[in-house]
């Protein structure tokens, strides 16, 4: 087992290192600004005094590496500094919205993951039938459509024309759980459509890849019935690719969520990020980027660790 734990720890260490490098990238990218933050935010028209005052306030007189360490230390404790536009603490603006975003992503994932894995396996079994071809065209169409296209179509048909669901996903604190699910159904469905298509295609490919291996042919030649070939012989070896598929798409949800939040005016962190970018509110942009990147890296990390843990060759060393 020593081999396995050391592999897992190595992977964890690598993940941490990547996160560190990414944080450096995010912080120092802002340093690349022509002039500096104060100049950029206040614009050309600002007087020397106001710019200087802002520099003072942001502590820009200190060297960049020191400010980075400061920022990182704060970020680890959940403190991302102060918004340049509103002057509020970034952490208070983010925390509630981040939970909203996580809720939306989890809502979509809870629907998409089971459906797409089951459908993916079914399509793999029925490969090259009419059903498979139709599914291929539909999933390709779905992943080719921009999220806002799908979102607006859903709004048009499920909200404006039929009035089944609300078009805007505004949240109130006193909503019941089911009302919450109802209100956020359209944004979740949009995400589900995109992610399901991706996941189905990848699950199908992973299984078909496995079905070509000699041990599957051997199982067939031993008289094993088809369902058992899949369940007993293919599936135990398919966990690694399937875990990968799921993690990759959960990570994709994070990117998709930004556009969907804008379409449905959903109070999430993506919406905040887009606003902050437009207003050049750098502390918020940096914080959001770091959170998105960290989630992304974490998911990839979990996928890799999962793949290591389910690999029979690694679980039972020589």
């Amino acid at each position: 087992m020593g081999d396995l734990t050391s592999l897992v720890f190595k992977r964890l260490g690598l993940g941490l290192l990547t996160l560190l490098v990414v944080s450096i990238l995010i912080f120092f990218a802002v340093e690349l600004l022509p002039g500096d933050i104060a100049q950029a935010v206040l614009g050309q028209g600002a007087t020397e005094e106001t710019v200087n005052a802002m520099r003072q306030q942001l502590g820009l007189d200190r060297p960049a590496p020191v400010r980075y360490l400061d920022w990182l230390a704060g970020a680890v404790q959940g403190d991302f500094g102060v918004s340049l536009v509103s002057g509020d603490r970034v952490s208070s603006a983010i925390s509630e919205r981040f939970i909203n975003t996580l809720f939306l992503a989890a809502y979509a994932a809870a629907i998409a993951v089971p459906i797409s894995i089951v459908l993916g396996v079914v399509v793999a079994l029925l490969r090259n039938t009419l059903f498979d071809r139709v599914a291929n065209v539909l999933t390709l169409t779905s992943i080719s459509s921009p999220e806002f296209f799908l979102g607006y179509i859903l709004i048009l048909y499920l909200s404006v024309k039929t009035g089944m669901f609300p078009a805007l996903a505004s949240l109130k604190s006193d909503m019941g759980f089911f009302e919450l699910l109802h209100r956020t159904f359209l944004p979740a469905l949009t995400l589900v459509l995109v992610v399901t298509a991706h996941m189905m295609r990848m699950t199908r490919a992973a299984i078909i890849n496995l079905l070509a291996s000699p041990y599957i042919e051997m199982a067939r030649l031993k008289g094993t019935p088809p369902w058992k070939v899949i369940v007993r012989h293919a599936l135990p070896n398919a966990w690694a690719p399937i875990i990968n598929v799921v993690a990759l798409n959960l990570a994709y949800l994070i990117t998709g969520v930004v556009l969907v939040e804008v379409v449905f005016v959903y109070p999430g962190i993506g919406q905040l990020l887009v606003d902050a970018v437009a207003k050049r509110d750098f502390p918020i942009v940096q914080a959001c980027c770091l959170i998105f990147a960290a989630t992304f890296i974490l998911l990839n990390l979990m996928a890799d660790v999962g793949a290591i843990l389910t690999n029979p060759r690694l679980r039972h060393p020589k």
């Binding site: 031993k222 094993t224 060759r313």
Partner: protein, 552 residues
């Protein structure tokens, strides 16, 4: 057909036709083959690659691989017509009454389950045995197949067991339901000769003990001679002839079969080293080498190759023979020792060698498919070295390419503008030789150049290499694991094992006893055409030592 009465027919294939899907159309692979197999009979199916042996083997189970279909004919197994049976009827036969042993056991065992769990799957599924009984039975079979630790080995995962043992475990698995028929699909092709013996012996014993009928598919005549009662020869999806083994060996009828038998006849006289003080072309001196990671793969390797001579380097996989070639060419710098070219030390890394030094030593590869760029025309493949080293251009270059094509006995007008994938295996190998010759080298490394080829074609290549050596005075280093090749072409032999040179000397000396024990093992493990060879060998070695011998 005297041994078996017609009443005991187990499998009867009539006018079987199978098609494969390629380039958007169905093309025939098997063009009407008949086959009759009796209970307890072992039939050897032999033929070159592409003869359709494996396809027939799968068809005997009523199984058509992906991309193939049975288009015509009948397959009758014990009174049941498989071509018209439903899929579930056919499936009920597989594993219980017809079992299959695949070429690569390592790939054919599911990595996610223990060996014994895969073994007991069929008997438990068919309700022949309870799980515990099936396990007991598996252990007994393991013991009969002379696997080490029969009580314990089944509880390991496939990747924890060596290739030869895995192949025997797969034979045990095929035996689990005591089938009437087992299909062996090249079960020992992927193994080294010394490991091959144990598997062959185990398979033969167990088939005998349970009186199981078998179809034994292989391309190796000597192997099939040990195993089969009857031999059927196939060529491009058609039967050439069929006869009881001894009759087939002694008195083949068809020209094609005779040519297969005749292959091993080519032999040329042995040359000896020049005595006038000529320096060796290549001299490997006390070379040690290791791959990154520090595992030592070569340990104090030394030998000389003199002009105009052929030195065969022999050994099993992992013996370091190919690594030696990498050291000589400069792909793997040695950790100590050096390589001399005509007495001058060569820089260890090929990047540091001069163009002329690179020109002097050329290489011919085992797999002509990967040795020739599929997207480059023949004239450029051969012309490039001539252009690169001698600076030939235009008409002179074209003339040189024509000359080289003539030299390798391919018609220039026909091949000049073609691409490698359009050529046959033997032709590709000839192009590989021409590319080496284009550099006008003194020394050529031939890395298993004939082992991927069918025997007749291989023979042609060996003759060509011999002729070129005489005409151009080339020195060859001939890497091979095939002792028949060594017998036919070598002047000197270097035997390697685990990165060390075990023994070296002139060929005739090497093939006459006394040998080093390893050389002896290697020599005696090469199957011979005599059907009694395996029996005699086992008696000599003693049955119980076989498993051990392979672990030496």
């Amino acid at each position: 057909m005297t041994k078996f009465s017609d009443k005991d027919v187990l499998l009867e294939i009539r006018d079987l036709k199978i098609e494969g899907y390629s380039d958007e159309t169905w093309v025939p692979i098997i063009k009407g083959v008949d086959l009759t197999l009796h209970r307890g009979e072992v039939m050897g199916l032999i033929g070159e690659s592409g003869a359709g042996k494996s396809t027939i083997g799968a068809a005997a189970m009523g199984y058509a691989r992906d991309g193939t279909r049975i288009s015509d004919g009948s397959i009758e197994f014990d009174g049941m017509e498989l071509t018209t049976a439903t899929e579930s009827e056919r499936r009920a036969l597989r594993g219980s009454r017809i079992a299959y042993v695949a070429q690569s056991a390592a790939a054919s065992f599911n990595p996610a389950h223990k060996i014994i769990d895969q073994h007991t799957e069929a008997p438990v599924h068919y309700r022949i045995q309870k799980r515990m009984e099936a396990q007991e039975d598996a252990m007994e079979l393991y013991e009969r197949l002379r696997l080490p630790n029969p009580q314990e080995i089944g509880f390991r995962y496939p990747h924890q067991v060596s290739g030869g043992q895995l192949q025997r475990a797969m034979t045990a698995m095929a035996m689990a339901c005591r089938p009437d028929l087992i299909i062996f699909d090249e079960p020992t092709t992927a193994l080294d000769v010394t490991t091959q013996i144990e598997v062959l012996a185990a398979i033969r014993d167990i088939v005998d003990q349970f009186n199981t009928a078998a179809i034994y598919i292989t391309h190796d005549l000597a192997v099939v001679a040990q195993m089969a009662d009857t031999i059927k020869v196939l060529l491009r999806g058609e039967e050439v002839e069929e006869a009881p083994t001894e009759q087939m060996l002694d008195n083949p009828q068809e020209d094609y079969t005779k040519s297969l038998w005749a292959v091993r006849s080519f032999q040329r006289p042995q040359k000896s080293r020049p005595t006038d003080g000529t320096l060796p072309v290549i001299s490997v001196k006390n070379v040690d080498a290791a791959y990154t990671g520090g595992v030592k793969v070569l340990d104090d390797v030394s030998f000389d190759v003199y002009p105009g001579m052929t030195v065969a380097v022999v050994g099993e996989s992992g013996s370091g023979k190919s690594t030696t070639a990498r050291v000589i060419t400069g792909l793997l710098p040695p950790s100590s020792g050096e390589v001399l070219f005509k007495g001058e030390p060569l820089p260890p890394r090929y990047q540091d060698r001069k163009r002329d030094q690179l020109r002097q030593a050329q290489m011919i590869y085992q797999m002509a498919d990967t040795a020739l760029n599929p997207k480059v025309r023949i004239n450029e493949i051969i012309g490039r070295p001539a252009q690169f080293y001698s600076g030939l251009r235009g008409q002179a270059l074209k003339q040189r390419v024509d000359e080289l094509l003539d030299l390798i006995e391919l018609e220039p007008a026909k091949f000049y503008n073609r691409y490698p994938p359009e050529l046959s295996g033997g032709q590709k190998q000839r192009i590989g030789i021409a590319r080496a010759l284009a550099a006008e080298p003194d020394f050529i490394i031939c890395d298993e150049v004939t082992s991927a080829l069918d025997q007749l074609v291989a023979e042609g290549i060996l003759k060509l290499l011999d002729r070129l050596q005489k005409e151009l005075g080339l020195a060859y280093m001939f890497i091979t694991h095939d002792l028949a090749t060594v017998r036919s072409i070598a002047d000197e032999v270097v035997v390697m094992q685990n990165g060390k040179v075990v023994e070296q000397g002139p060929k005739e000396e090497m093939f006459t006893p006394p040998h080093h024990p390893y050389t002896d093992l290697l020599l005696s493990s090469v199957p011979e055409m005599d059907p009694n060879w395996l029996t005699t060998l086992l008696e000599e070695r003693g049955v119980d030592n076989i498993g051990d011998a392979a672990d030496v």
